[in-house]
């Protein structure tokens, strides 16, 4: 049985999620929380966690991922609306996978199982948005890596990509893993707060964030 946790501020989603995940038979939703702090504060912390990209408490997605990864967890980033810059930045921060919330259960379950097996699965939507990454300081991908990323992003099955390029399926997988490795090791570690605001400046995410709920301006501004 694979145990997972979910961090989402949407109660409706959290409620539906338990039954939904439970129907797989081999995956169990063991913990839910509305924020990263709350999740890390629970007594039993499942190692695989699905994190909402845009939590309602205005916390920064990149820092949320960094915090969870720093605690030794494997993070699946999920979002309703794909946000190119944040998908790329959370991938760099060490997220294991990205999924959209409209994914069907089979896809999500496959992603969870792959992560449980120690893999870094790249879903089509993840590949699509990494392929659309246009930040000036994005990792340098080889033409072949880009080609494969774009094909996976279009939904092309690995088998078809392998045939088109005259390579084996495991080579396709290797290229994808190399892409993910390049993202994870751009040489831009985030191990304390100062690094974080540095990265945000580098990425120039161009995001005006709302003030914290207590009325104070956001700490990074």
């Amino acid at each position: 049985m694979i145990e997972i946790g979910v961090i989402d501020d949407d109660q409706m989603l959290l409620q539906g999620m338990a039954a939904w995940i439970g129907s797989t038979g081999d995956i169990r939703l063991a913990a839910t929380a509305a924020s990263v702090e709350e999740y890390l504060g629970t007594t039993h912390i499942p190692k695989i966690v699905i994190l909402d990209l845009n939590l309602g408490n205005y916390t920064d997605p990149v820092r949320n991922v960094t915090q969870l990864v720093g605690s030794g967890l494997q993070v699946i980033v999920a979002s309703v609306i794909p946000d190119r810059a944040y998908i790329a930045a959370t991938t760099e921060a060490g997220a294991a996978a990205y999924v959209t919330k409209n994914n069907n259960l089979d896809t999500l379950a496959d992603v969870i199982r792959a992560i449980h097996d120690g893999k870094t699965p790249t879903t089509p939507e993840h590949a699509f948005w990494l392929g659309r990454d246009d930040r000036p300081r994005r990792p340098k991908l080889s033409p072949r890596e880009r080609e494969i990323l774009v094909a996976v992003g279009n939904g092309t099955p690995h088998k078809a990509i392998a045939r088109q390029l005259g390579i084996t399926m495991s080579t396709v997988q290797t290229h994808l893993e190399r892409v993910r490795y390049k993202y994870a090791s751009v040489g831009r570690p985030i191990d304390h707060a100062a690094h974080y605001s540095e990265r945000v400046r580098e990425d120039n995410l161009g995001r005006e964030r709302l003030p914290e709920p207590n009325g104070n301006p956001h700490p990074d501004q």
Binding site: I81, N102, R132, P157, A160, R163
Partner: protein
């Protein structure tokens, strides 16, 4: 929109007409004013060459300016012919006079050849005008050269100076006039362009409002039906409807480069929504679609994608497909429809015949490209691309 904007080029044309008229009046005046000479001195006192050339010059001038007024311009060819006539007259007529009379008011050529210099300055390019005026001045000097020794040297030289100064002033005036006219025309063109852009933006906004109306009608209808309790949210059908609406909204929101819905994104998302109703689960991914896109290409690509998705429903034996579209950054787009169903053998004769016909045709017709890839058991991917 009632602002009357002059047609671009109108002011320049008007200026050209005025300048041609002014040149014509000037020349006519310069010729006619000489008529007092035969009246006062008597025709007999003038060499016949002088009279005959005068009449011929009148005829030539009439021909020249009738042509010029008709086309609103004196072309270089006409200018050069005019200069040739002036040079010939300046020499031949002046030499016909007795010494001391060539550089006097009895000679009719000085006025008209000044006029020729002015015409050059108005209508010829800078260098042609300079050389022509120089040639006229030299011809005048050559024609009246005997008078230099006949104590009329001042008249010879002042005639020369008059030719050059007249032409210079005319050149400057023409430059100022035409520059002002060009500027006025540019301003008019800019104003017209602005009007056109504004009208286009209005039309686009109107279209977008229409699209949003359609969008909201669909999604709002679903939500309101649920809210009123008309639809039980547990039913499979309602869940599917909600999922379709959600995909549609997502497609709209993510289509544009800056999250502003584009015509193509709206068209593709709407088409995807309709295809979903056939039981196909469509993963839509749109990004950076161009804001301004030819409507007929939007229609063609959307139609082709619809046919491709229909093909998935009919032949692929799967209930899931991927519809992706993104801008290439230079005004073009790439649209792909991918499924992981049966696929087919590209080499087989009858295979994909329907695809070729329905998808390829639409895209090729608007100048786009189609790439179809498939193999048994590996699904089918259709890539359509269009660049301006």
């Amino acid at each position: 929109m009632s602002a009357a904007v002059a047609l671009p080029g109108a002011v320049r044309e008007q200026t050209a007409r005025s300048v041609v008229r002014a040149a014509a009046f000037l020349r006519a005046g310069q010729l006619v004013i000489w008529l007092w000479v035969p009246v006062v001195y008597g025709i007999a006192s003038l060499p016949p060459v002088v009279l005959i050339s005068y009449l011929l010059a009148m005829v030539w001038t009439a021909v020249l300016f009738i042509a010029a007024l008709r086309r609103n311009d004196v072309t270089t060819r006409w200018v050069l012919a005019d200069v040739a006539v002036a040079v010939a007259c300046a020499v031949i007529v002046s030499r016909a006079f007795a010494a001391g009379q060539a550089a006097s008011p009895r000679n009719w050529v000085l006025g008209p050849i000044c006029g020729v210099g002015v015409t050059c300055a108005f209508f010829a390019s800078r260098w042609i005008a300079a050389w022509s005026v120089g040639a006229i001045a030299i011809a005048w000097m050559a024609g009246t050269w005997p008078d230099i020794r006949a104590a009329a040297a001042m008249s010879v030289l002042s005639g020369c100076a008059v030719i050059v100064v007249f032409s210079l002033v005319a050149a400057l005036a023409a430059r100022v006039l035409f520059r002002a006219a060009t500027q006025a025309d540019q301003a008019a063109a800019a104003a017209l362009e602005a009007q056109r852009r504004e009208a286009m933006a209005e039309a686009r906004d109107e279209e977008r409002r229409q699209q949003f109306k359609v969008l909201h009608d669909n999604v709002l209808h679903t939500l309101e039906s649920i809210a009123r309790g008309e639809l039980g949210i547990g039913s499979q059908q309602v869940r599917e409807t909600c999922m379709r609406d959600a995909d549609y909204l997502r497609g709209l929101i993510t289509g544009g480069a800056d999250s502003i819905p584009t015509d193509l994104g709206v068209a593709l998302a709407g088409m995807g929504r309709d295809r979903s109703a056939l039981g196909l689960r469509i993963n839509q991914q749109f990004d950076a679609l161009p804001k301004q896109f030819p409507p007929h290409v939007t229609q063609a690509l959307t139609g082709a994608a619809r046919e491709a998705l229909n093909n998935v429903v009919k032949h692929a034996g799967t209930d899931e497909a991927w519809l992706s579209a993104y801008g290439d950054g230079v005004g073009g787009v790439i649209v792909t429809v991918v499924d992981r169903g049966h696929g087919f053998d590209l080499q087989a004769k009858s295979a994909g015949l329907g695809l070729m016909r329905s998808v390829r045709h639409r895209v090729l017709e608007v100048g786009g490209k189609v790439r179809i890839d498939s193999a048994p058991g590996e699904g089918t991917s259709i890539q359509m691309s269009w660049t301006p």
